[in-house]
Every structure is written in C-alpha cells, then in structure tokens.
Symmetry: D3
C-alpha cells in the first residue's frame, strides 16, 4: 500500500523511452567535463606529492599550496561525481541499462572512487577514477551511436582519454 | 588493457566492507534531510497550483510568487537527489547491494523522479518522489539495524513519512 | 524623520500574527537539519583530535584529512547558523518573542557559538553549540504545540538530542 | 542538567569583551555591502514595476526580464540578511547589546523585512528594508566611534544612505 | 606616489613569461567547457522560442519550463564568462597579448555578449557568443601549438565548433 | 566566413553607448566591494604571517587557523576578481576604453594579481592587488563624473583607499 504509488506513476506517466528526445534537465550532455575534472584530481595529487616544507618562509607557502591543492582536488572530484550523476539520472533510461547491464555498478564505482580520491592523495585511486569515467564516456557515446577514439590529454597529466571522433 | 586499472586498484586497496566504520566523506548520514526536501517539492507544487493571476497589481505578485515557488522546487529536488547520491556513493557498499538488490534501481528511480519533479509541477510525480525516498530511508535504517516507524510529517503537506524509532 | 518609514510600514502592512499561516520563505521549518549540522561539527572535532602526523607518506594523508575535517566543520557550523537564522527571521514572530523572551539572546548565543566552533577545534564549544540548538528546537516544537522527547543520536557522536515525538 | 553546558562554557571560555580585537570570522566588517544589497532590492522592484508584457515577441523578453529581476531581488535580499547576521553574530558583543538595547529587535526586523522583500515586489517594503539597514549601520559605526554622514547613493535609486565620514 | 607599487612589484616579482609552466590556479585549462556552456545558452533560447502558454493546466507548465530555461541560460552564460576570465587571467601572459593583440578586445566582447545573452532571448546574440568563444578557443590552442579542426557539435544545436585535433 | 557573425550582430544590435542607461546585469555598480575584498586579502596575509605552530595542542589550533585564513584569502581574492570582471563586462563600454586606453591592461593586471594573491601569502602582492583595484576605482568614478578622495580604511590593515566624495 505504502509505495505502490511509484508503480502507479510509472503506468500513468511512463518515463520516456530510450529514443525519446530529452528536454532540460536533459539539455546538452557531454562526459568531457567529468573527464577533465578527474584529470584535474590526478594533477593535484601530483602537485601534492611534489611539495616539501623547507625552511620558515617556505613553510607558509607550503601550507598555502597544500591547502589549495587539496581544495581543488575536493572540488573537482565532487564535480565529476555530480556530472556523472546528472547524465545517469537524466539521460540514461531503463532500456540503456538493459543493453549495458554494467552501468549501475560502474556508476556506483565512480561514486566510490570519487570519494576515495577525496579521502586520500593516492595517485592509483585518481587513475582508477579517470579510467572509470573514461569507461562511462565510451558507453555514453556508444548509446548516441558516435564513434570514439583514444588520445593523450593535451595537458599534464597527459593520460589516455576517450574522445568522440567528430 | 585500458580499464584494467580499476580491477587492480580493487585488489590493492579493497573498498571497506559493509561493517567497516566510515570516516568522512562518511560522516553522519541521515536520509531525513532528503525526505524533508522531497516534501518541500510537494509543498511547492501545492502552492503553485493555488496561484492565480488576477488583476494588474496581482499580476506582479503572481510572477514573483510563481518564480520563487519554482526556484524552491528546483533547489530542493536537486538537494534531495544530491543527498541520496552521497549516501549511495559513500555509505552503501557492495555487500549492501547484494542484500538489497533493488537498491541500484531504486536510486536510479529517485534520480529520474527528482528530475521529473523539476520538469513539471505535477503533484503525482512529487508524491512518487517522496515515496521513493521513504523507501530508500527504510532500507538505510534496516542496514543500520535501527527500527523505523511511520508518522505524518508535522507540517504541510503532512504525508506519511518513515522515521527511525529512537 | 529618517527611519520613521519602518514604523509606517508596520502600520500599513502589519507582520502576520503568530497564528498566521506562513507561505514561502516560510515553507517547511524543521530544526533537525541544524541539529545534525551541529552534531557534525562535534564529529569533526573528534576526528581532528584523533589525527597524528607520523612519517613522510602519512604526512600527506595527515594534511589531506586535516584540511577536509576543518572544511567540513566550517561548512556545517555555517549551515547550522544559517538554518537557525531562517527559522528566526521567517517563522518566529513578535508574539513568540513575548512568550519566550529568552529567544533573542539564545539566537545570538547560537551565532556566537557557531563562530567559535569555526575558530577553534575545542570540543566543549562544539557541545555547547549542539546544546544551544537543542534548546532552540525545544522552544520551536513548543510553539508548534508538538511534544518533544530526548534520545541519543543514531550515529557518532551519539549525543542526547531533542526530537519531536511524532 | 541538559543545557547547563552553555553556562559552563561561558565561564571557562568567556566570549571576548566589547573592546577585544576580533580575529576571523571577525575579519573586516562593513555594513556598506548590505546597504548596497538592500538598495539593489529597491532597484529591482522599480524595474519590475516598469515592465509590460506587450506583443508576442515582447512577451518572451518580458518573461526573461521578469525572471531575472526577481532572481536578483531574491539574491540581494538574502545577501543583505546574511551580511547583517555575520556582523550581528561575530562583531556585536553582549556589552554592545546592553548599550544599544534596540539591537536584537532591529536585527529581527531586518530579517523579517528581508523576507518580506523577497515575498513581494512592494516598494514600501524595500524602502523599509534599506532604512532598517541604514539604522543598523549608524549603530555599527557609533560602536566603532567613527562619525557618520548622510548622502544620496551615487546610483539609482538614489536614496539617502548612512556612510562613515572618513 | 600612490600606485607606483604595481610597477615595483613587477620588477621584484616579475610575472612568469609566456613559456613558464603554470601551477594552480593554472591547473588544466580547456575552453571546451566554455564552448559547451555557450552552446547551452543557444539551446535554451531555442527551447524558450518553442514554448506556448495554452490552456489553464498548460499555463503552469509554461511558467515552470520558462523559468527553468531562463535560469539555465543565466547560469551557463555566467559560467562561460567565468571560464574565459580564468583562462584570460591565469594562462594568458603579456607576451601572448603582444602576439595576439586582438585578445583584450575579444575577451571584452565575450563578456558583453555573455551579458547580452542573459538580458535577452535573442538567438543572434547567442550565436555571436558561441562564435566569439570559438575564436578565443582557436587562439588558445594556437598558443599551445596544438592544431584545431572544425566539426558540428554532437548535440542540438549542432553548430560548428572549434576542437583541438588530438 | 566563420566569425563574421560578431561584426554582423554589432551592426544590427549595437552595444549601448557610454551614456546609455544600463539595466540589469547593469544594476548598481560600486567597486567598493572589490576594494574591501582586496583589503581582506592583505588582512589574511598579515594573520597568516602572525601564526606559529607551538606545542601539541596549539598545533591543532595552528592548522585550524591556517586553513581558514587561506580559505578566506582565496574566497576574497576570487570575489574581487569577479566583481571587477562584472563592472568591466557590463558597465565599461568601448567609448570608455578609448578614453582610458590603460583599462584593458589594468583589468588584466588585476586578474593576474588576484591569482598571484591566491598562489602566495606574500604581502607585497596583496598590496599591489589593493592598489590596482583602487586605480580601477578612480577611473570608474571619473567615468561617472563623481569626484574621489583618499582616506585610510576604517579597519586593519588601514591602507589608503579611494572613495567617492559624496
């Protein structure tokens, strides 16, 4: 009795099918922003690893830079998770999940890796985060029937990224 | 070759088991904030439905109120989705998904209903959003082994809500 | 001559009486979100107290965690203050202040304790912040003529909290 | 037993006296930003009052402008309230309240007028909001022992404002 | 006497030359996010143009959609301006301005077109905004010595965009 | 062919001349908020310079204060840059640039000094940032044909500031 309403609303206002055009919040989806965010997370991990405390004057600069790198890492890991969630909630339909059954697990893994990338400064975690989002990007473009290619990012860390082949 | 890293990182830094204590971003999880947000969405739908344009002076007030109700509806639907995503990404572990296999689909449905609640002012959609989050809340408290109860919310719209029985 | 306008506007558009129904920004008021925020402040103080610098690799993780705990403490202390300010400005009417003359002083104290909880990592300050907001919560529910109860929070730090008895 | 802690913390860590130098969140307080925000609220009310729907093409521009004016009004009314709350919570000490006993009521009125300025597009309410914040500004500068003057704002609506006489 | 300090600081701490590696806020610059934002502005203009008020029930949905399209247009026009400002302030050095003397005027034009795209729902303005940012993108990639190509955006409105040829 | 549109739009919808009244986003421009933000940046640099680590208990307070000062410095440097960008993009017209040809370079310098003020805790950089914004303020008020004066800021650091002479 209590949660029947969800089933009911599904029958009355069925969610659009996979082919349906989507309006806003549909807008313009592109995983590239999440990919750049994840790359930025790795970049911050590299900058953090390169810092050293040094003498008294350097110590203030050490704290200033350390604080800023951590804050930028936080912000971009969060943004990447947010952007994937938006595509997941607004663009991905049940029919896509049937065709790509790994999607729910992959999205869950992206959320976990994003959180782990905030909790640590461990580069391996950051790399796994980038890879998981690249994997999501590959599925996204496949759904849109646009071919992808792999190329090095044109900025440090120049990891291999998935791009639509336009 | 390309995405092997995710499997590798899983072996090296396994994600904490379901029983593990979680640190921040773990912090303090409580679905009540998402439940209140979803209730606010329905409240705004009710206020929107109650507005009428009237005469010239009333017309300005109509636009002022309409804009604000829509903006508050947007904000709280978004916040509810964000909060569920945080609990989903940071608190829910693979072992929980095994025990509650409906979780990935339920989370996906919450994201879709949250977006639909932004796209329309349709009360049925808002009610389904509240119900889906109540259902999530029930599972959340069951995982924490805390009993729940149902009670009317102490403010309009006084829908039946799931609360931990403290 | 200069500030007479305030008196004038009061006569022309009197503020709604205590019994008046309030619209948005009235919306749905619930001090529970501020209470959870204040609890999170104490939780962060506890996590900060538990950190130690250790060796070289641990040092990076120390800074990463320290930065994040402090930022979460900042954010939640601020959010708690904001939420109490909203209830204070939008829900509390002059008639309530007459009935509960301690309210203005209590709100001022909450603002001061929230700021102090940001300025230090001192647990006693955090506990006083939680208590002051619990005290506000008790008055809030009394105004709404809903009974309250006390119970331990269902997460660390499991302090005694004020809940509406629904 | 329950809320004794507040009294205790007051004895152990007394809040700084009125003369004490304040650190951040103390920082640099200046009510001018809240005064400009309140003026902006009146400006938006004037622009809203000047809009008319007109024909089909004008109708889209009408909605575009109306939405934006309302949003800017919302944002600046909120910012003004926030800024006054910060000065109130961080700068104003108990000794100031003793000297200016109208302060708690004035701050409460500012919060109410800010909310009312969001709820309506009524110019009288906006003017009262500006006046109340000017009144707060006068007390603020008196506490700092800096003389004030009155002058027209150098932009529309060129209302009479309180400025420090530097 | 008064502003000599700027000249002095330039001599003491000269800004890095065009070839210098830049640290954060340098991070990872990519105009693609601003390009997507500008495209979204045009998309919203198209959606706004397609709306009609219709009957009573449709009227609520009309206001809901209109409000949301305008808000999304606002947000993305603002974001595009912000992102160009960041690249302009953090990546572009004086040596670049010498080589591309049109840069200051182009950046100023982008800011003006971004504001105009917020003030109206006029598609021509939106197209000019997209074009100006594409032009900025072309210079940006030329500075980095990476070739660009033109291709249709893989989503509506599928305008011709500048992409790095990776 | 590709970017001709900008020239076209300029002919069809010419940007308003220098004397034109400006609407929102024009609103109410006042560089004082950017000036206060820049002053806050210097204040934080002074507070950072005054911190010392001390013993174990002091160490936690050291990290708490250091993190907060850096974050406030970040936020206000960013806000100052944002506010100058708004005045630059929305208020300053081509005719102003013709009359004050130093404007584009000055705005670029403000952006660079704002970024440098985030990257370091170096007081000289902060002072140059304040001075550059004071210089911008002087030109701004000259455009509006309002005389300015110089006076010490009424809070630490009491640097010489440019104020309109109202």
């Amino acid at each position: 009795m209590f949660y029947k309403l969800i089933q009911k609303i599904d029958r009355i206002h069925p969610f659009p099918q996979a082919k349906a055009h989507c309006d806003i919040p549909c807008g313009i989806y592109d995983p590239i922003t999440a990919q750049i965010d994840a790359l930025t997370v790795v970049r911050m991990m590299d900058l953090i690893a390169g810092l050293s405390e040094g003498d008294e004057k350097a110590r203030v600069e050490f704290h200033n830079s350390m604080s800023r790198y951590i804050a930028v890492k936080e912000e971009h890991a969060e943004k990447a998770k947010h952007e994937i969630r938006v595509i997941w909630g607004d663009f991905i339909k049940d029919a896509h999940v049937e065709k790509y059954p790994e999607l729910p697990g992959l999205v869950h893994k992206i959320m976990q890796l994003g959180s782990k990338s905030r909790q640590t400064a461990d580069r391996e975690t950051g790399l796994a985060f980038v890879d998981a989002i690249n994997q999501f990007s590959e599925i996204f473009w496949a759904i849109k029937e646009i071919k992808t290619k792999k190329a090095k990012a044109p900025y440090a860390p120049s990891l291999e990224m998935v791009y639509p082949d336009l």
